[in-house]
Assembly symmetry: C2
Homo-oligomer: 118 residues x 2
Amino acid sequence: MADFVYQGRVYYSPIELSMAFIGGTWKMPILLALRKGPVRYSVLRSIIPHITDKMLYSQLRDLEKKGMLTRQVYSEKPPRVEYKLTTLGKRSIKVIDSLQTFGKHLMKTEKVAIKRQR
Amino acid sequence: MADFVYQGRVYYSPIELSMAFIGGTWKMPILLALRKGPVRYSVLRSIIPHITDKMLYSQLRDLEKKGMLTRQVYSEKPPRVEYKLTTLGKRSIKVIDSLQTFGKHLMKTEKVAIKRQR
DNA sequence: GTTGTTACATACAAAAAAGTATGTAACGGG
DNA sequence: CCCGTTACATACTTTTTTGTATGTAACAAC
């Protein structure tokens, strides 16, 4: 497989390209949060544990740029903005489900300690 | 989902744990290279494009530590070492296939430019 | 006895990703 | 008129990941 370029970066394989679309700490949690339909910015921030404004904002922009989701602004008094999966974004869900299934299996079989909440 | 700890690191979700096992630039190419059976160190280095000794070595050690593969040493004159998937490693293959399928789809539909070899 | 092969191993530097802190604009409520 | 909410936006720092360069030990071939 020959190397290729996407958005100014070099990739060595289709897998690497995949990871540019759904990899990193926050893209998959964001995509999963949108699987049932459009969700507001503030809701995303509240339902995704630990995420900060900076990461939510920058990952949403990146996912939008890559065609994984669309941003819809409603001109209301307190502004309302909703994010929604595109067809491509929906296609990524089955891949993410596969990763999640594997991760749940690991949690059952590996030495994983539940962390106390505080 | 509560946070949990594995090998001294905190994870927020099963997906993050999955990525610890197969994520990064080199783990998936290595695992795929082993799908048909045991492969020697030198063969891995020659069939995985762009990988360096340092990355191959450190990723093999990490995958071994995580129980994804086993290392078998044959005491021969020029030493021979073979790496082989465990049951867990084999289980990861279907997840990686899913990512690869998604990546191939992206290559067909996104603005991807093939890079000239040199 | 110099070079080559096999399979690592490590020091150090660069690059990429993520986190912290702070700010903004347009309102609305009290 | 000060505070809170919504949805960003940016500067800066820290952490993590990856890459570069170099070295080693045991032979074997020439």
